[in-house]
Amino acid sequence: MNTTAIRKQMSIHPDVMDLLNNQIAMEMKASASYLAMASWCDQRELLNSKSFFYKQAEEEREHAMKIFVFINDNGGAAVSPNVTHVTNDFESLRGIYEKGLEQEIGVTESIFKIFKAAREKNDYTSEVFLQWFIAEQSEEEDTFRSIIDVFGLMEGMPLKMIDERLPKE
């Protein structure tokens, strides 16, 4: 049994904690990025897309908060991140959703990396905690792929009409 001084203070591995702190930064960056996308849609009266991205921005922040609280609850030190270099300039609505999918894939890959590290360090607490995120990311990626499919099916239709067929959340 590991009963070192550090283990008595923390239930999670310090290296995994560092990766989780990086993940908080990534989720907050994603949240800020979705907010920029929501603003782009809001300015163009794309009502469903605007609601979708406002909701996504909130969800990403919730994910970050979930990790933040988890680190502190387990004796670690959660770090409030810097969020910089958020793009506010986009080419098209389809481009925004494609960027969103890329972002989600990046987040999923990062979660996999932490999951692997937790497994290697025998950090079972973090491993179990991250299982929820893996299922969640699978759903997120599916949502974006389905939306991009709609763009393929409705190619050539007016943007407003496409937007009306997209989910609000």
Binding site: T4, A5, I6, Q9, D18, G75, G76, A77, V79
Partner: protein, 100 residues
């Protein structure tokens, strides 16, 4: 010709009670609680990345580090910084048990 001895950087971090730690530096002893040890670890990790070390070397060649919720200010040149980082890292290292 005299050859200088290898310099010694006496940084040590030790647990005194369940949640109290003491960091010994050449000039003073600093009492820390666990969150302060974690914060020190984070700062040292940030300062010892390749980019950060390059930036320090190309500018002042030293860092001033606040420790223990800004109660102490520690001056560190590059070898001292690396030595302290090594000490803190080894403090967090827990060897795996091997059954023989």
């Amino acid at each position: 010709m005299q050859i200088e001895d290898t310099p010694i950087y006496p940084y040590q971090i030790k647990q005194t009670t369940f949640c109290k730690y003491v960091l010994t530096t050449p000039n003073k002893e600093i009492n820390l609680n666990f969150p302060q040890v974690l914060e020190l670890r984070r700062k040292l990790n940030d300062l010892t990345t390749f980019d950060s070390l390059s930036s320090i070397i190309n500018t002042d060649n030293f860092v001033l580090l606040f420790v223990a919720d800004r109660q102490h200010l520690v001056y560190l040149d590059i070898p001292q910084l690396l030595k302290l980082q090594e000490e803190v890292m080894s403090f967090f290292y827990s060897p795996e048990m091997i059954l023989v």
